[in-house]
Structures are given as C-alpha cells and as structure tokens.
C-alpha cells in the first residue's frame, strides 16, 4: 500500500515539477562544424514547434517545424568553430498562438581526438607494437617460423611448367584501382613473378583494367627484369591496358586465355562477379591457376575453379613471404600475434556477453 501511494506521489510530482528544457551544445568528436539542439517542451496545449537560428548576418532561418514535444536537431549547416550562434524555439497551440519561447546559445568547438574511435586506436597500437617488436626480433637474428603457403610455393611450379611448355604466363591484378590495397598486394607479387619469368625467359602477359595500374605494373615489371639482369628480355607491351569496364575487361582477358592458352594464370587482387568467368575459362584452357583476393564472396569461386587460392590475409602476406627478408617475415609474425590477441579478445567478448557483461562489446563498437 505504501509503495502504491509512493508511486502515485512520484508520478504526480513528475508532472508537477517537470520542466521544459531547451539546450544548445557542441557536437562531440567533430571539427567544430556542428551544434546539437535538444528540446523537451512540457506544455498541455502544445501542437507545433518551430526551431529557428539567427545567422551571423542577422538573418533568421527556420530549421525545424514539428509537432514533436521532444527532439534533437544537429545543425551542421554553415557553423563555424568559435562563433556563438543563437537559436530560438517557439511553441504554438492549436489556434496557432505562441504559448512559449525558449532561447539558447552555443559555440562549436574543435576536438583534438575522436573518442568514439578509441577502440580502433587501441587495436592499431596493439597490432603496430606486435609488428614492430617482431621486426626488431627478426633483425636481431631470431629464427621465425612462418607456416607454408602452398599458393605461393606453387609459383616456381607454375613458371617451370610455362617454361617447359613454351607458353606464356597470364597475370591479372584485379579490377580495382591503385587506391585498393588488394591491387597493391597483387602488384607486389607481380614483381616477384616477373623476376622469375625474366630468369626463365618466359613470356608474361599482364592485362590491366585501370590506367594507373598500367603505369605502376609497367614500372614493376621493368624493374624486375633489370633486377634479374635481363633488361633486354623486357617487353614494354607485355603490360597493357584493356578497358575500365568490368565485363569488357573479362571479355578481353577471356579472349587472351582462349587464343594464347597460357600455361599458368594468376588472378591476384580485387575481383567481383568476373572472378568465376575468368577462373572457369582458365580451367577450360588447362592452365595451372593461382588466385588470391580478400573479397569473401568471390573466394568460393576461386577455390572451386583454381588450383591454389590465397585466402584474404595470405594475399597481403605474399610479398613478405616471397621476399624471405627477416624484417618482412617479422612483420608477418607480428601480424599473427595480433591475430591471436584478437581471437582472445573475441572469445572473452563472447563469454562476457553470455554473462550479460557488455563492457567489451561497447568498447569495441565504433560509433
């Protein structure tokens, strides 16, 4: 009974003492280009709310017209950091008579750190520390074990097969531009492959889908031939541009596969729907095929149609793996340690969630 009376009293006291609020505050974690306006208007006759802003030149701009008694508006239009802006909120009743007016002022500030991304920073720092530690560890002469990646071990086999058969090697560095990391990873592998084709005097065909990739791939292949001591064997037309169009490119590459019948095909980079068309055409031509991409939706196609597939991270690890340089291998080891840490964090997160502790999930969620 006492509890019921207390509850009724509290309910009424809420209505008795409830106050309308209107606040203008700086938007957090931004470059000082937004202000957040919150309102909660408690008035029984309220029908309409009009929020307006007074610009620096005195001009009045209506920002919101709503019937919501509480709400939030983020003003990101022509807000300059350090300048004070005034906002007015008018409440109207059903007869369109003004029943209340509220005024607030706010100044947008520039923040120095985006606290929403603290977990991302934490992960980057942990991974960087692990990589740097193992690089120094490798430099000090410590033996590092790196698991065998059969897709990369097969490179010699592919080049050898092509040399024996007197047929070319086809290399496709994906269909995205140089701003995609997969393309860069593919091109670094091209550099290693070109050294081998130069050494074995095997023809290399590199059709590309983007003009920027063309320039880079040409330079990489040229440098590789120089490195192998065979600059005379470098054919500037071995790397050529086909088209930016996805299916036009596929048609071109398929044509090359059918006509030239390469002994080995490499598809290393970013691929979309064309992955299976390329890989199946290559399979039909009887080529030994190695593919690698970080596109999860395309990996099953490559796995089904190619002899070797570099799955996700293996593509990015390829260059370090092939170089056999201690500091590059050290970075791979650091990457593996980072992976182990994340597995532990994920497992801990799952266990904590099962027990209703949401700290880790909230910490790792990017807002």
């Amino acid at each position: 009974m006492k509890k019921t009376i207390l509850l009724i009293f509290l309910s009424f006291s809420f209505f008795l003492f409830a106050e309308s609020t209107f606040t203008v505050m700086d938007a957090p974690n931004d470059d000082g280009s937004a202000l957040i306006i919150n309102w909660n208007i408690d008035h029984p006759d309220l029908v309409k709310i009009v929020l307006q802003k007074e610009k620096a030149n005195g001009e009045i701009v209506v920002l919101v017209e709503t019937d919501q008694q509480f709400g939030k508006y983020v003003d990101g239009e022509s807000v300059t950091a350090g300048t004070e802006y005034g906002y007015q909120l008018y409440a109207f009743d059903s007869a369109d008579q003004q029943i209340a007016k509220y005024e607030g002022f706010g100044t947008a500030k520039v923040q120095w750190f985006n606290t929403n991304k603290i977990s991302l920073l934490f992960m980057v720092v942990v991974l960087t520390a692990a990589i740097v530690y193992f690089i120094f560890s490798a430099k000090s002469g410590k033996e590092l074990y790196i698991r065998k990646i059969s897709g990369l071990e097969s490179m010699d086999e592919s080049v050898g097969r092509a040399t024996e058969m007197g047929k070319p090697i086809l290399f496709v560095p994906g269909i995205l531009d140089l701003n995609d990391m997969q393309t860069i990873a593919g091109l670094t592998i091209l550099g290693h492959l070109a050294v081998k084709t130069a050494q074995y005097d095997t023809k290399l065909i590199v059709p590309v889908c983007r003009s920027m990739v063309l320039s880079t791939a040409k330079e990489i292949v040229k440098e590789s031939y120089l490195k192998a001591g065979r600059p005379d064997a470098y054919d500037p037309d071995s790397v050529f541009y086909l088209t930016d169009d996805q299916f036009g490119f596929v048609a071109g590459v398929d044509g090359i596969i059918v006509r030239e019948k390469p002994a080995a095909n490499f598809y290393l980079g970013a691929f979309y729907a064309e992955s299976l068309i390329l890989a199946e055409t290559g399979f039909a031509s009887g080529a030994i095929q190695t593919a690698g991409t970080a596109m999860p939706s395309q990996l099953p196609f490559f796995v089904a149609a190619c002899d070797y597939t570099l799955i996700g991270e293996e593509l990015f690890a390829a260059s370090a793996y092939l170089s056999k340089e201690p500091h590059q291998l050290g970075s791979l080891k650091g990457q593996d340690l980072g992976k182990a840490i994340f597995v532990i964090v994920l497992t801990a997160g799952i266990i904590m969630e099962i027990f209703g502790i949401h700290f880790l999930k909230n910490f790792l969620t990017l807002h």
């Binding site: 991302l120 490195k227 048609a251 729907a273």
Partner: protein, 231 residues
C-alpha cells in the same frame, strides 16, 4: 635519393591519413580530401596513357599481322567509333564539337554514342554477365564431387541450401510436425547461411583486415618496397 623521396612521401601521406581518422581537426580532413582529389587528377591523366597503350598494342599487332590480327581491327574500330561519336555529338549529358546532332537524334532516337551504348555495349555486357550462370553450374559440379570428408560436407551443405531455397524443399519437409520444425529444409538452409556461413565469412574478413593493416604498415614504414619496383 630516387628511392628515398617516394618512401618519405609514402610515410608522411600514410601517417597524415591515419591521423585524420582519429583527429577531427579540419586541417587533417582537408589534407586527406586534397590527397583524394590529387588521386582523381592523376588517374584522369593516366587514362590518356591507358588509351595510348590500347591503341599502340592493337595497332602493332595489326601492323605485324600477328596471329588473330583481324580481331584487333574490331577493337580499334570500336574504340575510334565510340571516341569519335562521343567527341563530335557528345553523350546524354554533354554536347560534342558538332553540337547535339539534332538530325541524327531525330533518326536514331538517341545521340550516336548513346545509341551504340544502349543497343550494342549494354547487350554485350549483359551477355558476358550471363555466362556466369553456366560457369557457376560447371564449377559447382566439380566442387560438389564427393572425394573426401571436406567435399562431402560441402556437398551436403550445398544440397541443403539449394533445396531449402526452392519450393521443393518446403514440399519435402512441409509435412513434419511442429515439434520437428527445426528439420524443415528452409530452416536448415537459413541456419547454414546465417551461422556457419556468416562465421566463416567474418573470419576471412577479420583475417583480411589484419593483413591489410599489416601490409599498410609495412608500406608506410618503408619495409615493403617492391611496389616501387625492384627490391
């Protein structure tokens, strides 16, 4: 020096882009967007290099009558015709040197470039995409051949998912009582796609994400230099 300058530029640009992710200062954001604009400008110029490469490679093959040289004539003619039509009469959103070609539009119903784009290019593109259906069938046939434990599991999962997504799957298990609802093929299919499939895809994505960070760090710190050519 030839090698040091690109490495310094890579280091600085890499760190600015990373900082701009965490520091919401306008300065970093502006540099980051300026760098993206530069990339677009450079790729704009690189398109010319691409077109020149396309023209040169095809022209030389025709000139020296290399095997299958008539195919390269088709490529060159297509290239010249599309560039010419685009330059003379423009495209859907722009005018060419000779205006909009009102008379041609009255005859064809479209500008020449757009006419070829809609009536030739789009159909060829759709044809290439359609090939995927046949290639999926041939690749699936090979992938689902029962050879070992893994391929058997793959075969079972594939059959369950395929059946579960058809009306046959519902018909086959529709008679099961409510207590055995979890054995309904559409439910099994949904379970496979929602849990084991998503878990596998996420594992690959997490691995790829870590590999990407590792790879980027190697490039930014100058450990990985093969993208510059050579060692």
């Amino acid at each position: 020096m030839k090698r040091q300058i690109p490495l310094i530029i890579t280091f600085l640009v890499g760190f600015i882009v990373i900082f701009s992710e965490f520091i919401p200062q306008r300065f970093f954001g502006q540099i980051s967007s300026t760098l993206e604009e530069w990339f677009l400008i450079i790729s704009g110029f690189a398109i010319i290099l691409g077109q020149l490469s396309l023209f040169k490679v095809n022209f030389l093959k025709i000139k020296f009558k290399q095997p299958n040289w008539p195919y390269y004539i088709v490529t060159l003619i297509s290239f010249v015709v599309m560039v010419g039509f685009g330059a003379f009469w423009g495209t859907e959103t722009s005018s060419g040197f000779l205006g909009d070609g009102a008379k041609i539009v009255a005859t064809l119903g479209d500008k020449p470039f757009d006419y070829l784009f809609h009536n030739v290019y789009q159909h060829l593109s759709a044809t290439m995409f359609s090939l995927l259906a046949f290639f999926i069938a041939s690749a699936a046939y090979r992938a689902f051949i029962a050879r070992n434990v893994e391929s058997n599991l793959l075969l079972i999962a594939a059959v369950l998912v395929m059946l579960g997504n058809t009306s046959l799957g519902s018909a086959l298990t529709g008679w099961l009582p409510e207590s055995l609802k979890f054995l309904h093929l559409p439910r099994i299919s949904e379970f496979i796609m929602k849990y084991p499939n998503t878990a596998g895809q996420r594992a690959i994505m997490i691995g790829a994400g870590l590999g990407l960070i590792g790879s980027s760090l190697r490039i930014i710190l100058g450990i990985e230099r093969s993208y510059l050519g050579g060692k």
